[in-house]
Structures are given as structure tokens and as C-alpha cells.
Symmetry: C2
Amino acid sequence: MIQIAVLGYGTIGSGVVEVLKTNYDSIAKRSGQEIQVKYVLDLREFPGDPIQKILVHDFTTILHDPDVEVIVETMGGTNPAYTFVKQALEAGKSVCTSNKELVAKYGPELLEIARLHNRNFLFEASVGGGIPIIRPLNQCLTADEIYEITGILNGTTNYMLTKMAKEGASFDAVLKEAQALGYAERNPSADVDGFDACRKIAILASLAFGENVNYEDIYTEGITKITDRDFLYAKAMGTAIKLFGTCRKTEGEPEQFFASVCPVMIGNDHPLFGVEGVLNGILVRGNVIGDVMFYGSGAGKLPTASAVVADVVDAVKHLNTNIMTFWSSKPLSLADIEKVQNQFFVRVKKYEADHVQSLFGNVAKITVPELPEEFAFVTEPMTEEAFANAAGQLDGLLGRIRIGH
Amino acid sequence: MIQIAVLGYGTIGSGVVEVLKTNYDSIAKRSGQEIQVKYVLDLREFPGDPIQKILVHDFTTILHDPDVEVIVETMGGTNPAYTFVKQALEAGKSVCTSNKELVAKYGPELLEIARLHNRNFLFEASVGGGIPIIRPLNQCLTADEIYEITGILNGTTNYMLTKMAKEGASFDAVLKEAQALGYAERNPSADVDGFDACRKIAILASLAFGENVNYEDIYTEGITKITDRDFLYAKAMGTAIKLFGTCRKTEGEPEQFFASVCPVMIGNDHPLFGVEGVLNGILVRGNVIGDVMFYGSGAGKLPTASAVVADVVDAVKHLNTNIMTFWSSKPLSLADIEKVQNQFFVRVKKYEADHVQSLFGNVAKITVPELPEEFAFVTEPMTEEAFANAAGQLDGLLGRIRIGH
């Protein structure tokens, strides 16, 4: 019998308690031991909920109880999560967390503390909800040199973009709908401005390449400038518009990587083309394995709790053994975005036709009947800098979206 | 430094040697040790190939060399692979194999021998080529009770079905093309009759449900009866026809499972709808995680070798620790296929219209202009037995394909 504690009884924390109860027997079989929740920490009271019996308000009760060997952290945010997790690891308890802010900011430090104490710091649920991606990166794709990891990592924005694509709805209309359905927060910035995806791709890239990607260094652009007009072209071109978090090796020497979160236009041959609605999909490209894709529910109470509990099972199976994780605190060498090559889908006013030709060469014009006063085109690959220079000369620029490959 | 041996220098075996060489440094980092191939076993000679220096023809050289701690088995077939692997495990060497026949037939026995000797028997590459699926099933989805596992597990037949769908080509024409491209063998039976997929779903189902599925007990039907006419309807209906290996819990008590390999027709809302060409996709459905999908190259020299080498890395990281694997020799309780409920897509001659209505109720007629002398319909869910009885009364029956959900 293993005793655990759950910090934070919100959506994910209560999901963890529920999953441990629902699948008690099969989880015990997989862990080799029964798993008992001894404490739940939350500042609130939950009168009438059976959890009330094991509810504590003071973390030190948990920290100083030697019976507690694994701690689940589902509070979110970095304060006090960081302090609690650090203290727990230093006290010789393994920690499983769903907290992407914590992992993106303190991952290498907390992994190192876990290693020094021969315990584990596990965070499968911090990216992609229930989709197994952290453990596959760490333990399955070990024969490969990964050169790209790209994901649709935010279910809210993917739901919105899918709705805009299918129904021709405007950004504001789908945002209201997503808020009404509880998919988007009242303040939707973390989702629509790409901040959530940014933390997630920082975690994935750090694991894929073994060196630290600071999420603050990632070029991040949300979906707020994507309009129903862009989707008229996407429909005509048979493409999709998705919010990608990506990190990939750049061409040439020295070895550098380019990390970004931004909307991209992709063709139907892209492995992530079919990832729709609130689902998440993650594509990993390796030098021997080729493309591998992982797909499923990227959020939600039970899928996320399933990933946390799978970490608890792993922590129980490795009580006194550190599972090697390659995420050094050394910064991954990131390329200057200005020097990175991209292709761009560009919308301009009709009168810019000659100007476009002189700036971008002989590009094919794309027109849709609904928008007679404008046209669109796709550039050849060019540096971000060169594109910005050329696009800056277009008075009639209406928008641009990078092309994903 | 760890010494390993590779049994069989065919496509996969030579791929393993190549991957170990190509990614030598990163593999050493992930394993914690450098990995050296000390022997390659093959009956043939390879004059001019650097491998010739370490080539041996007698397995006992490897078996009796205490320096060899991990053995890669890529010979295929069960004889002498079974004897060699068993002897290796009993001699305290871990074994990593890509051999689905071996794993499907002797999995539980070889896992038990490995456990008793505190070594590992690993077989990530036996299903889905490079796609990580064995380790995720065993180590990631541990919080869930899985109720279904379904895969497109054979790249050859998926290539053929995709070609038939896109080009309207006949079965014989695409088979010839697949043979010319090296995707299909001269004797294509293992692929087109479903035997390859059958062994793979037996392995996946055994791991997903923890009890043994004998591949000989799986209802297996290949794709040889699928015609270009079926695809005319699929196109009109917006559906796809895929060869699924599946194992799922049946409804009601007692707890039973239904395992099959057969062509199915699926709608575009099915997670495996977009898995095209030689790619494989595997869908896992759990009671808390919901649907998770894994997707990538299901075969091919390097992707498969990548999975074998990932197993070697894991074996090296767990030299004296058995990785728990849940695959008991106890047989999984399989339902009698006659009692299983399915829906069927059925093609009949035009004159059967009234007869169809009396046998199957008021089903919608589907017609395509190219085939004026027939029509198709989809049945309500019914047992296989009831369908067989009703269909047996139709003189004008032209074909039937199960519906996948």
C-alpha cells in the first residue's frame, strides 16, 4: 500500500481522485501496490464531499508525514506550487504534476533535485492532456535524432479555428461560443495569444533536444488576427489554418533551432491536417523513424487525470530509482527569427498586383468570389527579415499566415 | 560499453546496425553507455561489407560469450528464433525482437523466462514498425481500463486500399503495383489474407487486456473480396474501406472480448479515417482517457530498426531489472463471433429490393450511376449469426463489408 497526497482539489485534482477510485484494482495491478490518497490539500472546504475527511489546509502536514511517498501537484501556477514541489522532492517524495507553468519555468531544476534524491519528477499531463507524449519522447524515441517537434497543443484555439473553417464564423463569434461552452476562459488571452501553447512547446522541445528552451525566448503569435476572410481562401485552396507550436533544427551550420508558436496554413498532406476540434496532435520527426504522430484529448478532467495517474503508477514502480530524463539546464541554441526561412500566405488589396510582382516575383494569384477587392498569394521560401522588408512596402497588406510543412 | 549481438542480417538486422552507427553518440547518451555490435549471426556471407569481420555462423559463439548482454533477434519466423531467444534469456541476456510470429506465439512464455532471470524480452518493433505502441500500452496507459484497441496494422494492404480508393483501380492491378514497388511479396497471402495483421492484433490485445489472445482464435478475413465496385459506393458515401485488426470488450455480462481482422467501412469521423498509404495507425480507447491515436511508418527498414534500437536502449538502462509487462498466459475470454453485434454494408442485385426490405427492414437504398444493376444498403446492428441467416437468403448478394465505429 502506497500513500499519496493531492495538492489542489480543482478540476484535475478531483479527476485524479476519481480515476484512482474508478480504476482502483487495475491501477493496483499495474503499480504492484494499492494506492491510497491520504491527504488532499486545498484552501477551500468541501462540505458533503467525502474528500472533506482527508482535507488539509497546511502543506507541512503532508511534507512531514513519512508515509506519503508520492505527491500529485494539480494547483497550477508557480506560487506556491514551486516551493511545495521543491520541498517535497528534497524530503524524498516523488512528484507528479499537470502544471505546465511550473514545468516550463523550473523543469531542469526540479528534475535535478529529483535525481539527487533518487526520486522522480514526472509531468506527462503538462502537455497534451491524456496523450502520452512526455514518456514516449523520453523512453521510446531514444534511437533517433529528432529534428522537429510540432504540435497542435491548445484545444481551445483548435476548437475555434475548426469552427471558423467549418461554419465561416468570425473570430469574435466563435470565441463567445467557446466561452459559453466552457472551452475558453473569460479572459481568453492565455489561449488565443498562444501563451499556453508556448509553455507546452518549450517543454516538448527541451525534452526532444535535451537542452533547455526558455519559453520567453519563443516567438509567439496568437490567432487573434485570423479572420473569416482567411478561411475563404483556405477553403478554396483545400488547406487548414492551425495554431502550431514548433521547434525544429534549422538548415546549415552551426546547429541551431527555431522555436515558434503561430498560426500556420497547411495542406491536406500534413499529418496534423485532420486534428480537429478540441483535440490535440503532436508530430515528431526523427532521422531514422520518420514521422510519428500522437493524437487525442489534449485537455479535460479525466483524460488529464489519466495522464497524472499514469505518472503516479510510474512513480510507485520506481520508488527509489530515478528515471533518466534528458533536459539539461544548458540553453538550446535558438536561431534569430529574422534569419529563419519561411513561406507566407499573403492577402493584399487588388491594386497591389504590380507591386507584389516587383517585390515577390511572379507568384500565382489566388482569388475568391466573395472578396473581389483583394487577392492572395504564397511566397517562395524567404527569411522572415526579407519578408518583413518586402511586406512593409505594401500599403494594401491585409494579412499574412506562415505556411507549415 | 555494452556488447550486443544481432541475429539475422536481413532488412531489419542491417537497419539496426546502421541506426546504431548513424546515431552512435546520441544513443550512447540515452543509454548511459556506448553500444557496440560484437557479433552478427547469419548463415550467409557478406563479402565486402564491413560486417563480415564480426559475422558468425554459429549461435553458440554468441550464447557462450559472457560479454554479450543484449541480443537483437531479427531473423523472423519461429524456428530457430524461438530456441535462440529462449536460450539467450536463460543465459541471462536480454532480447529485443522485431519478430511478430515469435511474439504472438511465445510471448507469455518468453516474458516469464525473462522475468525469472531478471532480464528483459522487448518487442516494440513487432507491431507498428517505428510507431511507439508496445511501451505506451505497457507504461503510459496504466491508469485506464482499455475497452478497445483497433489498428491499421499492415502497410501493404493499406497502400492497396488507398490506391483503390483514390484511383478506382482493381484489386489485381494495385496488387501488381505493390509487388513491383516491393511493398508486397510475390506470395502476398500473409498481407492480403490478414495473417500479418492477425498476429499483430493478438500481441496488442494481449498487452491491452493483460491476458493471452491466441492469434489462431481471431476471426480473420483479408481484403481479397474488396473490389473497385465497393469503392464506388465508398466514394459516394464519403467513407473509407480499411483493414482493421481490432479487439474490444463486448456489451453485457460476462466480460468477454471480440477479436477480428477484417475490412471495415468507416466514416470520416473515425480517428483512423485519415491513415493512408503504407502508414499504420493504432487507436486505443480507455474508460478515462477517451480515444488516443498513434500514427506513423508501420514498416520499413529504418523506422522498424529505430524501434528495435529503442528497445536496446531500454534493455541497457534496465540490465538487471525486469520491466513489468502484463501479458499472462491465461487465455482472454473471447466471445463467439456468431453472437457479436455488427452493422453491415451490403451490395445486392437490383431485383432483391423487396426481398431486402422483408429481411432487413426499411433500409435506405444507396445507388451509384456506374452500377445500374445493383444497389447497396447498411443494416441496423445485428448479430453475425442473424446477418448470415438473412444474407444467406439473398441470391443476388454481391458483397458485404462490416461497418467500423
